[in-house]
Amino acid sequence: MDKPVGKAIPFSFKLFASTILLIISFLFAMKLGAAHTSWQDVLLSFTSNQEDNIQILKEIRFPREVGAVFVGAALAVSGAIMQGMTRNPLADPGLLGLTAGANAALAIALAFIPTINYFGIMTACFIGSAVGALIVFGIASAKRGGFAPIRLVLAGAAVSTFLFAIAQGVGLYFKISKDVAMWTAGGLIGTSWGQLQTIAPVIIIGIFVALVLSRQLTLLSLNEEVAIGLGQNTLKIKVMLFIVIILLAGAAVALAGNLAFVGLMIPHIVRAIVGTDYRFIIPISALLGATFMLLADTVGRMLQAPFETPVAALIAIIGLPFFLLIVRKGGRAFS
């Protein structure tokens, strides 16, 4: 029997290596930044809270990096699910209207309930991303062939522009542009433990459900008829997966605002490592998405410290060429 090289490395090793990579990235993200801190401070920050440096780490950098882990994992996993469900290699919560929808809902929520808490913000984001996705898919299904990768992305771009305009309009009219911008364009700046306490559980649950449904997702990604033939209740699974996507994308927006391309790029990179079985794609996407987000955020903090470089812009600079590359490969870069 011939074993190609790529499959010779067992999955458990790939999982282990990805985990180690995430831990190392996390430690570096903790150490590097505008305020000088030592490795000793980083280690102490996990256990004690004396001294100023450790305070900075514990209250500012630590939650921020934990936030990066959750946001990166959530975006990568929701992107992977979207790509599998729609068999569309260009699917990404930022490109198909989910983040824009969450953004608009967030602006509306802030306008009408200025005292809204994290939970309220997050709920608004769920509703918004669901609405955004439904509009995009509604437009796509109105015409035969509307689900072709590029057409779906065009519909997503149009709907996103519209939804962003709504968010801005609401912001201007209610004079809350600054508050909205702080939420949606601020990346992970100001992520607090309180915020994480509300939002992280949703992401953990979302990723857990995604892992449980990963075999079902592989079947759907093959061919819907094959999935039905093997006894899958496809409607039920699709609804469940859709809810997971909404939870993950909405929670990511509630934490870090608009970030496109993470959900697009990470699953493609992961496929190159583990193949097209979602049992392997989902967990590695979560780990590498988290790692990627940590690194992007750290670079954003370091590039012109003590000033922040917007992480969304940084990711877009890497993400756009990646997007074009996939389009160039005929939109079928599934291997």
Binding site: M1, D2, K3, P4, K7, V212, R215, T218, L219, S221, L222, N223, E225, V226, I228, G229, L230, G231, Q232, N233, R271, G275, T276, D277, R279, R332, F334, S335
Partner: protein
């Protein structure tokens, strides 16, 4: 009584009626071929019987119960369906794909038991695909790929196997290979095989029972010799066929044919 039959089955796409009240019994432990011209509704019929698409009225009865009322996972333990899968590009390895055939027997976590592994290895073996176990399905030739998909259907361990044009896109030798595999499964393991076939002579040679369809209705369903006849073929395909006997198999053989002229 047969295990599987349809009663006045109607299927439509949008407003167009594709299958018009079909009632037919599928003989147990036999090979059944469905033939007919393009667009006659044979694939639609197959999909409706296997609940891949919903039907608007009538019934599909399996083991005394209507299939719409049976749990889809339990149905998947009784019947496997191989759709026309050529477009389903997948970077899965052969072993991974075939292991998904065990899906109907697995719980939520989907761990493969030693028994599952045995069945998977057996399915690979009978389809002669063991050597490809670690190769990507996409990297195989058409004939190899078709055998891999059949292996997945076999891993489902069902008494009934449906196939939608299993020989399309294959060259002559590979077509025969696939059909002989199905014949062996029928003879050695008494599996019921139901397939849509394009080639008349393949249907005549490999099927015990043939359903000839036209415009969503059955023209004739019966034993091979009663369906592969000039008068039936004239109606089903609008051809004037010369039917002889295959000197090797003794089955009917369409030696040559012409288009019907001037009757429309």
């Amino acid at each position: 009584m047969v295990r599987l039959y349809t009663d006045n089955l109607q299927v439509s796409y949008d407003d167009r009626l594709i299958v018009k009240g079909l009632s037919v019994q599928i003989p147990d432990k036999k090979v059944t071929a469905i033939i007919g011209a393009n667009g006659c509704g044979k694939s639609t019929f197959l999909k409706a019987v296997t609940r891949l698409i919903p039907h608007q009225s009538g019934d599909v009865i399996l083991d005394g119960g209507n299939i719409v009322k049976q749990r889809t996972k339990q149905l998947a333990q009784k019947m496997a369906i191989l759709p026309q899968t050529q477009e389903a590009a997948s970077g899965l390895t052969v072993g991974e794909l075939v292991s998904y055939g065990r899906f109907p027997y697995q719980n939520a976590m989907g761990r493969l038991t030693p028994r599952d592994m045995d069945v998977i290895n057996w399915a690979l073996e009978v389809t002669n695909t063991t050597d490809f176990k670690y190769r990507q399905v996409d990297a195989l030739s058409g004939g190899q790929r078709q055998r891999v998909w059949i292996a997945m259907a076999l891993a489902q361990e069902t008494d009934i196997i449906f196939l939608d044009e299993p020989t399309t896109y294959l060259d002559m030798a590979h077509q025969l290979e696939v059909l002989e595999l199905l014949q062996r499964l029928n003879e050695e393991q008494q599996r019921t095989i139901v397939m849509v076939l394009h080639d008349l002579n393949q249907a005549a040679r490999f099927a015990d029972f043939i359903i000839a369809m036209k415009d969503g209705e059955i023209v004739r369903a019966g034993m091979c010799e009663n369906v592969i006849r000039p008068d039936i073929l004239r109606e089903v395909f609008r051809i004037d066929a010369e039917i002889g006997t295959d000197p090797r198999t003794g089955k009917p053989l369409c030696i040559t044919y012409d288009l019907l002229k001037g009757d429309e």
